[in-house]
């Protein structure tokens, strides 16, 4: 892990200063990071897609496997419109779009979460697995079913938070120009 943190924040992202960010992390436009959220990029960079919400005590970690070291090509990419609710811990290998991780859930390394999934409150997923699209993990036994109904979009909440949070919190300044990034890619 490089000793210097490199946090890239695109314009229109709202990242509270009281969040703990370690390593090479990119927040795309429209992300909302509440205070006391933690993102740890230990094994490689983390790229968080547009319009994600990270609530309090969320931990997103890209942890080192035993014997491995920092690898700049080992990217944990998180898609767009994901919601990480209060106190969830997500160490998943890959995360698609429009997922909801409810309060205090744990998603271990080796779990691949595609799109439209919901992991219910308090559920702990340790085993290596590939969830199907639109899976809903629910209940005490962590049963899985396919979600029939479409998830409601979180854009309204993001709009509200983007208006309110700057009034009460010190924010990290957007420091990354997407145009410049495009030229690099």
């Amino acid at each position: 892990m490089p000793t210097e943190n490199s946090i890239k924040i695109m314009p229109k992202a709202v990242v509270c200063e009281e969040s703990n960010l370690r390593g090479d992390i990119t927040f795309s436009a429209g992300c909302v990071v509440h205070p006391s959220a933690t993102v740890i990029a230990e094994a490689g960079p983390i790229i968080i897609g547009e319009n994600c919400i990270l609530e309090e005590y969320t931990t997103i970690a890209h942890r080192l496997q035993a014997g491995a070291s920092w690898n700049a090509n080992n990217i944990l990419s998180i898609g767009t419109h994901n919601v990480f609710e209060v106190g969830c811990t997500v160490e998943a290998a890959r995360i698609g779009d429009k997922n909801v991780f409810e309060s205090k859930c744990f998603v271990g390394p080796g779990v691949t979460v595609p799109s439209g999934c919901v992991v219910g409150a308090g559920i702990r997923m340790h085993t290596e697995q590939l969830l199907a699209e639109n899976t809903i993990v629910y209940g005490q036994q962590a049963l899985q079913r396919e979600g029939m109904e479409k998830q409601s979009s979180q854009t309204l909440q993001i709009d509200f938070l983007r208006k309110v949070l700057p009034n009460y919190h010190h924010l990290r300044k957007p420091n990354h120009d997407p145009k410049k990034a495009r030229s690099v890619v």
Binding site: V86, G87, K104, G122, H169
Partner: protein
């Protein structure tokens, strides 16, 4: 039940004129929207989100370590709204609990790591067990016990789940907790 003294260091806690004891290691967002009615203990690591909506807590509440008090939101056809949250008197919120209820009555015990979903209504003298998960918009009527299994037990004067003297017990417990939460004596 007798409670032993819990000591805190002078540097860590702030005591207000009305007797609130608030740790410095808390995240109180939008503190102008948070009303603590006196003799409330807010322990380290707790988060109260006053920036989203008003939060009112009654007297002798205990908000334990790492718990999150977060006003609930509801999505309407255009825009969302966060609702103010009221917590009654003599409420104990256990460690690591997430409370997103619309209202919490008086003399309520919320166990460790309980998750109270959005816009739940918790009436007076309830017990929420440790690790219980309340789905959004649940109502727990008074003298009911919400178990970790997800069932609501008790009621109709059934004392096996919530003691008939729940009110007195909670008053005694939270008062004792407050009295025994004392500053480390100077050596």
């Amino acid at each position: 039940m007798e409670i032993g003294d819990t000591y805190y260091s002078k540097d860590e806690y702030v005591e207000t004129a009305s007797g609130n004891k608030v740790s410095r290691h808390t995240v109180l967002c939008g503190s102008q929207n948070i009303v603590l009615n006196g003799k409330v203990i807010v322990q380290s690591g707790a988060i109260i989100r006053g920036d989203l909506a008003n939060v009112r807590a009654g007297r002798y509440c205990v908000i334990s370590k790492d718990s999150v008090i977060r006003p609930p939101y509801k999505q309407f056809s255009k825009g969302i709204a966060f609702f103010p949250m009221h917590i009654g008197d003599h409420v104990f919120v256990g460690e690591g609990a997430v409370v997103s209820a619309a209202s919490v009555g008086s003399c309520v015990y919320i166990g460790k790591n309980a998750i109270i979903g959005r816009r739940c209504v918790i009436k007076d003298c309830c017990i929420i067990e440790d690790g219980a998960v309340l789905p959004p918009e649940t109502t727990v009527s008074s003298y009911m016990r919400y178990t970790a299994k997800g069932t609501i037990e008790g009621g109709q004067g059934n004392p096996y789940f919530v003691p008939a003297a729940m009110q007195d017990e909670m008053v005694k417990y939270t008062k004792a907790f407050y009295e025994h939460f004392v500053r480390t004596p100077a050596i």
